[in-house]
């Protein structure tokens, strides 16, 4: 069974951080259409803090600590509702877990499911509300459908479902955030938060392609 070590996870998060920072112009453009244009700035600020915190993280034997540190860094640095929600994305699922030296695929799926639940509860958001949930929920569903996946399989399925989910947000009116005030005028625009979720899974998939063994050891 394929597992990820604390060291690999840290590398994966650092890779993700660079990808998010690179996507700042795209996120800014999307948020400028329906929000106040600061989602890219916020995500960049958050992931710069993630890089800083992950780099100086105490040597840890617990994979969940990597997620908790990432989430905390986002929460403490981004601001706005999205700071809390992307903080939960990483940290909520890692809360109250037994420390583990390596992460199994099912641990990752369970973590994401728990984070999704907390995000929906805190943000009172459902599918179709034009939020990050529109990308995250399908991604979690897709990951759960995988039978004995490798991490690459897992991330591939999550990426493709999140991408589709994010694109679907173009059809929705917003129920949360600044875009709510646009009502039907928000239709036609893709939600920046959902897009960020897609970028996260896409980055994980890219990382897995580059750095993880091709096939899981049976």
């Amino acid at each position: 069974m394929e597992t990820l070590s604390v060291k690999t996870l840290k590398e994966m998060i650092l890779y993700l951080a660079d990808q998010i920072i690179e996507c700042k112009p795209l996120l800014t453009e999307l948020d400028s259409a329906i929000g106040d244009g600061d989602h890219g700035i916020g995500m960049e600020k958050g992931f710069l803090k993630v890089k800083e915190k992950i780099s100086v993280m105490n040597p840890s034997e617990n994979v969940y600590e990597v997620f908790a540190t990432t989430g905390r860094a986002l929460l403490m640095s981004m601001g706005g509702a999205s700071g809390v929600m992307f903080g939960h994305f990483f940290a909520a699922g890692a809360k109250n877990t037994e420390p583990k030296a390596v992460l199994k695929t099912e641990d990752f799926v369970a973590l994401m499911q728990k984070s999704l639940n907390i995000i929906k509860e805190t943000g009172k958001a459902e599918l179709g509300d034009k939020t990050m949930v529109d990308a995250l929920e399908p991604a979690v569903m897709a990951m759960k459908m995988q039978d004995e996946p490798s991490f690459l399989d897992l991330f591939r399925s999550a990426e493709s479902a999140a991408k589709e989910g994010a694109e679907k947000t173009k059809e929705y009116q917003a129920k949360h955030g600044r875009a709510i005030y646009l009502m039907e005028r928000a239709v036609g625009h893709q939600d920046p938060g959902a897009t960020s979720v897609w970028i996260i899974f896409r980055s994980f998939r890219e990382f897995a392609e580059k750095h993880l063994p091709d096939k899981p050891v049976a």
Binding site: D36, M76, G80
Partner: protein, 333 residues
């Protein structure tokens, strides 16, 4: 759209630097986060910390000062400060007597201030909060807790500051502050949009000759969109709607704030106040104090809001304590 800025992602940092250095006689910036701290802050009393998104100046930073807030935690443009900023700002003014947070009732602010209070509680710092929800056009009376905070913030901060000065406990300060909040209502009318600095686009669309009653500071939908009307009609419409929500009786005493939303002039605010005063006089309501200023704004947004705080003996006593900030000052009486 002409906007006097440099780069979009430098706006908040440059705003903080300029604002704090202009008023360095009163303010200092927190060394690490976007917190504005009053140099002559309260000692050995409950501390008052306010905060919210930037871009609504002088709210919140400009309400830091004597008899008002000890510090303000400032977020990005129109976005709540993060819990890190809130915690560090609060800790910088903590006197061990507890911290009261006063902020507008918006989803992002609620989430981030709650997270900050959780962290501070873990560190053994006593905190409480009062969310301001004075905008009576933003949700019906049975859902007051869904209402947004607008210009009424300033009345609530004023009372909270005086209650802190009086040396009350955190619980007592909170109770008085909640009373001020519950006695305050606001309603506004938008005549033109503001802008998001750096985005080069208006915060909402409003036709050349259109106005919208009850529209929020960020363009949140209001209660009625119509064509432009004379000042007296605007004033009376707001007055009638506000009093429907918070009945004010013959003989009651009130404080009134006619707040410009950004590009509305004192000339216009004065004409509005003249009509509001006429209506209050007609209804036998006594004006204890009034103010014509742009305190809670959204860049160059056009329009104004009317806020009324109904006084009782206790609120009046706290309201009459002197206060001074670069943007808000009262002589004691």
């Amino acid at each position: 759209m002409k906007k006097i800025i440099n780069a979009a992602d430098q706006v908040v940092q440059e705003l903080m630097t300029g604002f704090v250095s202009a008023y360095e006689r009163y303010y200092e910036k927190h060394p690490e986060v976007n917190g504005i701290i009053y140099r002559n802050r309260r000692k050995n009393k409950v501390s008052l910390v306010v905060g919210g998104g930037s871009g609504h100046e002088p709210l919140f930073g400009g309400f830091v000062g004597k008899g008002m807030a000890d510090a303000a935690a400032c977020g990005n443009i129109f976005a709540s400060p993060d819990p890190g900023t809130i915690c560090e700002t609060a800790k910088a003014v903590d006197e061990g007597k507890g911290i009261l947070f006063v902020y507008g009732n918006y989803a992002g602010d609620n989430l981030n201030f709650d997270a900050a209070e959780e962290i501070l509680a873990d560190e053994g710092i006593l905190t409480a909060h009062v969310r301001v929800w004075d905008d009576c056009a933003s949700a019906p009376p049975e859902r007051t807790e869904d209402r947004r905070g607008i210009a009424g913030d300033v009345f609530v901060i004023k009372i909270a500051g005086a209650a802190c000065d009086a040396g009350l406990t955190l619980d007592e300060v909170k109770t008085v502050t909640e009373k001020a909040r519950n006695h305050t209502r606001s309603i506004g009318v938008a005549t033109s949009p503001g802008s998001i600095p750096g985005l080069n686009k208006p915060t909402f669309e409003l036709g050349e000759n259109e106005i919208e009653y009850g529209m929020g500071l960020h363009g949140e939908p209001g209660i009625k969109r119509t064509t432009m009307e004379p000042a007296d009609v605007l004033a009376e419409t707001l007055y009638v709607n506000l009093l429907k929500d918070m009945p004010v009786e013959f003989g009651n005493e009130v404080c009134v704030l006619i707040n410009g939303l950004g590009s509305t002039t004192i000339l216009e605010l004065s004409i509005i106040y003249r009509k509001i005063r006429e209506l209050l006089d007609r209804d036998g309501v006594i004006v204890h104090d009034a103010e014509l200023k742009s305190l809670c704004t959204c860049q160059e947004m056009g329009g104004f809001s009317v806020s009324i705080m109904k006084l009782d003996t206790e609120l009046k006593m706290y309201y009459d304590q002197p206060c001074f900030t670069p943007y808000y000052a009262k002589e004691g009486r």
